[in-house]
Symmetry: C2
Subunit: 146 residues, 2 copies
DNA sequence: CTCCATGCAAAAATTTTGCATCGAG
DNA sequence: CTCGATGCAAAATTTTTGCATGGAG
């Protein structure tokens, strides 16, 4: 992996925390930094392992709690709305999904127009693309009214 | 929820099992059916709960093992390549991702061209769309050579 | 007989919770 | 002093594994 970068400087993080009414602590800076400074979207476990180098007494539970706090306040986005459990798909042709961010229902979206996306050159050059799938993050009708 | 549908008839399932060299058992039919007959992409737990009605002695472990077998043989696709754990994203503007299906590394893809997808009418009409994200399933360079 | 799918129980791994403490304001 | 963030330990949940059994070919 290349060297760590920082997409958002600390000051920016602090500013966003304050805007969200969150206190800024060394742990939080470290956690945010581990995420923002790493393009690989590390898991809480991975964040924990990395952070322990500089914060040997931090608890894994703190990492979980903090990341959850961040996401509830919009400082980070949840990349895996369905992570709670594996999900499988019987439709093996390429297609897409709507995921209700609230109730986590998943609905198929089959639309030929969506299958004609031109792969970015960077993606095509650097990897072997097996396929792609678009996740529409939505509020379904029933969650919308509530 | 509407009534269950069956996207792939049993005969088709049997044919595909045979093609993959898998034996066909009542449990497997039931499991496949629970997935294929349900548009909501149920979790293994949910499949288990549903199947117990007709197969009271089935074990949850069997459901996990079977779904894993199915996906390794291409009978179903893995909808959640990152499910093992939550992942967060510090980049809160809309963007996309490459996910290596083997090592699970996630890399950002920022490309304005990808942000101009026309939302399918069905999606726009039925829900409030908060955003979307394209997941490119790829083999990264290092996994590709191995 | 051999092989593999199954069920069961145990183990492992992951995530959440309760609670006491600490520190900033 | 008060409140929220933290660390620790325990609990809960989810997933995997080992092993004995049983049926199909």
């Amino acid at each position: 992996m290349g060297k760590a970068r920082r997409r958002v400087p600390v000051e920016e993080f602090v500013r966003r925390c304050k805007a969200a009414g969150l206190s800024v602590t060394p742990q939080r800076i470290a956690i945010y930094d581990a995420i923002a400074g790493n393009p690989s979207h590390p898991s809480p476990e991975a964040v924990y392992r990395r952070i322990r180098l500089t914060h040997p007494t931090i608890a894994l539970a703190t990492v979980y709690k903090t990341l959850d706090t961040f996401s509830r306040h919009g400082l980070v986005a949840l990349l895996t709305p369905m992570h709670e459990t594996v999900r499988y798909d019987p439709l093996t042709i390429q297609h897409h999904h709507m995921i209700c961010v609230k109730c986590k229902e998943v609905v198929d979206v089959v639309d030929p127009a969506l299958d004609e996306i031109r792969l970015p050159t960077r993606v095509r050059r650097s990897t072997k693309v097996l396929g792609y799938s678009i996740h529409f993050n939505v509020l379904c009708p029933s969650c919308r009214v509530r």
